[in-house]
Structures are given as structure tokens and as C-alpha cells.
Symmetry: C2
Subunit: 314 residues, 2 copies
Amino acid sequence: MTLLVDITVWDPVPWVTRFRELLPGRSVLTPRDTFDPAAVRYAAVWKHKAGGLQGLPNLAAIFSLGAGVDHVFADPDLPAVPIARVVDADLRDRMSEWVVLHVLVHHRAQHMYDWQQQQKIWEDDPNQPLARDVRVGLMGLGVMGADAARKLKAIGFDVAGWSRAARSVPGIECFAGRAELPAFLTRTDILVCLLPLTPETRGIIDAALIRQLARDGRLGGPILLNAGRGGLQVERDILACLDEGTLKAATLDVFEAEPLPQASPLWHHPRVTVTPHNAGISEPRSVAAYVVRQIEAFEQGGQIENIVDPRRQY
Amino acid sequence: MTLLVDITVWDPVPWVTRFRELLPGRSVLTPRDTFDPAAVRYAAVWKHKAGGLQGLPNLAAIFSLGAGVDHVFADPDLPAVPIARVVDADLRDRMSEWVVLHVLVHHRAQHMYDWQQQQKIWEDDPNQPLARDVRVGLMGLGVMGADAARKLKAIGFDVAGWSRAARSVPGIECFAGRAELPAFLTRTDILVCLLPLTPETRGIIDAALIRQLARDGRLGGPILLNAGRGGLQVERDILACLDEGTLKAATLDVFEAEPLPQASPLWHHPRVTVTPHNAGISEPRSVAAYVVRQIEAFEQGGQIENIVDPRRQY
């Protein structure tokens, strides 16, 4: 069998190298190689070229190499084969590091202290709340959201979560569905978005949503963190909410267009922190091993895990 | 009985107010009030005026209102009565917030990303290690150190601790005493100092100590965090180690002189982060309640907790 590794944006070399190590005796190729289309059984992809997976008559499954499958469904000529998400402990842990870091940066007003240092000002905020006085709300309670929720809870934050379908995370107040979204938002001081991008979630972080966040909290206004996908957010609305005061600050790892265009006002907005889509990084070491385990299980008659629903696109 | 509240540096009003709420019918006074010295049974102090506790013939105990008792022992005319430290969950939790925040800032290179944002540079570090690849070492494994160790462990860091006397913290490799200090330092990428200031620990963070930290770690050089006391560190040595490359960066909440003098090169050193001794803040709400519980237990024939050893001054 042949595994076709179709990656753009990232450097494919470490992925191909790692797959070859893990699949000795098999053929691991990229679209640049010459190969027999009928030999390709699996595709491992990240932002593959649209149409690039057509004409592979024996393709059995497509594996996404990073969190999310929105990039797979972006291909209008996608073959009708099972598509699998990656679930990876390292990716999950990296994402939680980013979430805990940036929640704490806002909670402890580190931007203000950095500014004070530049001015040589020695002054602490006597109204600094405790973590338990700050309500963090996680949108998305999958493997990553639930892990971030648990870690924020361990630090002491008052954590709740929201997800499309009902979920249960021990110690975390869980809201579900559109009907419970307002109740979730009105109790949230720091909103952390880790949702997948689907037709249902596209543009969900808009002015109407932001304006429902708690404005009576201890941090002087609501704060938005998005490390899900840029397509979840309406950047024009985020800027409007920052300017009208319904949003105090935002830390964004993902953007409508990436890399974030040089002309974007987000780069130098005084209350926006930009990170270059590095919250959760897919590493060949562990992710390729996950894909290979799925292939091996499938070839031994088992099921590939984390197959997405093509109607929901997740 | 009278409780004498002797505070400098902080605003005494919220403390006196809180003690009066909690001790109705008793006398809560400050050194500015007129009072009968023989009526004073307890003193609650933070950086009290030297000699201010003399001439109180019925003084039964001195309570420190913040973490540490070094400020009490700074008084050469201290009466020979029991001195109690405060152990407070809120203070502990605030300190851990600061520790987790600043460990993550260094781990995730947030200073670099802040700089990149200013330059509109979209670039992630492909060598970003995972938390488990970064060795954090906590000096001080009391209530605060052990809590910070547990929370760092929950995030995923490879955590060890060092303390004067042997301690055990589940899941944390514990080193003890001067003999085991080199082994602890050589396995440490991020050193977090939460030690109390005593005659034994004064100046412990010097060039000889810093030069023993791991230089083969994944963060490109060792990092120092100190939220214990400024007297623990030799600032001249920290600067020398930063310049010679044996220290990559430092985040300091405490200083040899506080407020940090305007002339200190630490303010604008490119690899030093200064916070204004705000890592762990004593709040009247919970700390005064702790002191009142101790007084009540003592008056009912019980023991005051966390009495320090005057020879060790902790």
C-alpha cells in the first residue's frame, strides 16, 4: 500500500521522514513523486491542494495531521471516503499551555506590569482578584477544551464550558446548545474559544456574542481568547467591541486570513495580543505515530478512530 | 484584651477595620492610638517600627500578617514571645498563579512573541519544547512551594523541589539540604525561588548557584524566578550571569531594596521582567480571619499554629 502525504503550508520533509521510519517496507510518497494512483490506500493531509485526492480509486481513508478537519472540507472535490481527525496528547497539552498562559496574563494584568516596568513604575493593583473570583468560559469541550478546563480549574479559576452537544466534565459547569449559550456567556469574564470550524460555527464570535459576555466581572470587562480557528471570529466585530468597550482585550492565535496581513489593525491594537497560530502545534513524532496506529488497526480489521461526520464536517 | 496592629508600608485601615469586625467588643488599636501598654495581649505586624513592641508586659504573641517573618526579626528589640507565621490559602494560591504564569511566559517564549507582534512578524518556533521536556526546580517546599509544584506538574512540567529539611510532595522529586543542592541545580532549567529569608538563606542566589543550573536544556539557557525575598538574591551576580550567558533570563518580584530603585539596571535589562512585589498579596479578609482563629484557639487553651523557631528565624 501507499501512503500519500499531501501537505502545504508546513514543511513536509519531517512528516515523510517520520512516516517512512514507522512504515518500513511501505511506500510513503508526496504529490511530487511519480506513483500509481491505484496503489494509494491512505492520504495524510494538511491543507492539501484542492482536487489532489481525486483519481485514487482505492483510497480507504484521509487522515488530518493537525487539529480540525475544516481544511480537508475546504476541498470541493473531496472523495467520499472516511476522514479522520487526529487526537494527540502532545497537541492537547500544548494547547492547554497556551490557554493557561494567556488566561493568567490577563488575570494578573501582566501587560500592565510590562508597561509599568518600561516606565519604572512600582505599583501593584490592590484590587487584584483571586482566580476563583474570575469566571472562565470554554467554548468547545472536546479533548482539548476539557483538558484546558481541568487545568484552569486546578489553578483555581471558576470554569464553565459550552459545547454543541451536551458534555460532562467533572467539576466544570457544562452548558450545551444554542439555547444555553446566553446563560453561559453572561457568566463569563474570560471567553476561551477552542471550537472546531464547521458550517455551524463559522463566524460565531461576532458582536452579538461578545456583547453578551459579563461586564460586571472583576477584570474590568470581558476578555476573548481564540485558539480554535480564525473562521470562527468576525474580526471587524472584535475591533468594534474593543472600541465600544464591550470587550476589554483579546488574545488571538488564529485569524480570518493567515499569516495575519500586514495591514490588519489587530497587529498594533493596544489591547490585542497576536500569536502566530502556534498555540497547538502538530509534531510529526507523535501525530505520525497516531496515524500509523490507526492504519495498522484498520488493516487488522479494526476501526479507525475519530472519523468525522461529513454532514457536520466534524 | 487589646490587639495592636502595627503596620508600615501597607495601608493599615483595611486591616484595623477587618480585625474590629472579627473581634467585636475587643480593643483593636494602632501605635498612633492612646492605650494602656499592659492591656496589649497580641500584636499583628507587617514591617513594624523597630522597638515598637517593647514595653508591652502582657504581650503573648506576635502575628506576621504576610508571608515570612524576616521583617519581624529585623527588629533588634524584639520581645521574647512566640512569633507566628501566617499560612493562608489565598496567599498560597496567588503565589502559585504568579509562578505558573511566569514559568509559562518563559516556556512559551511570550516575550519573543510580544516583540514579534510589535514588528508584525508571523513566525513560530519549530523547536518549542513540550512542558514535560522542561525541568522546573522549586526552592522552598513549604505550603506555597508544594502548591506551586503541584500546579506546574498538572500543566505537565518536569518538576523537582529543594528544601532545607527533607520534604515529600507526591509526584515531585525532592532534594534536601546543602549536600543535595548541586544535583538539584544541575537538573533545573527554570529555577523558582520561594524560600523564606533567614540568616541561612540570605544571598543564596548568587553567581556560584546560578552557574550550576542546567545549560543543556530545551529553553536555550537557565531561567530564574524569585518571588521569595529580595535578600535571597545577589543582584550584582544575577546581572553578571545574564551578561556572561550563564543565565538566559530572570523574572523578579522581590529585590534587595524595595521599591526597586530608579537607578537599578534591572528595570530596563532586556532579559529581566520586574513585578512590584505583588506575586503573593496578603488580604485582610482572609489573613485577619486566620489570626483571629489563632487568638481564639489560644484563649480556649489551644496552641497557636505555625510558631517560628527564633534560632532559625523561620
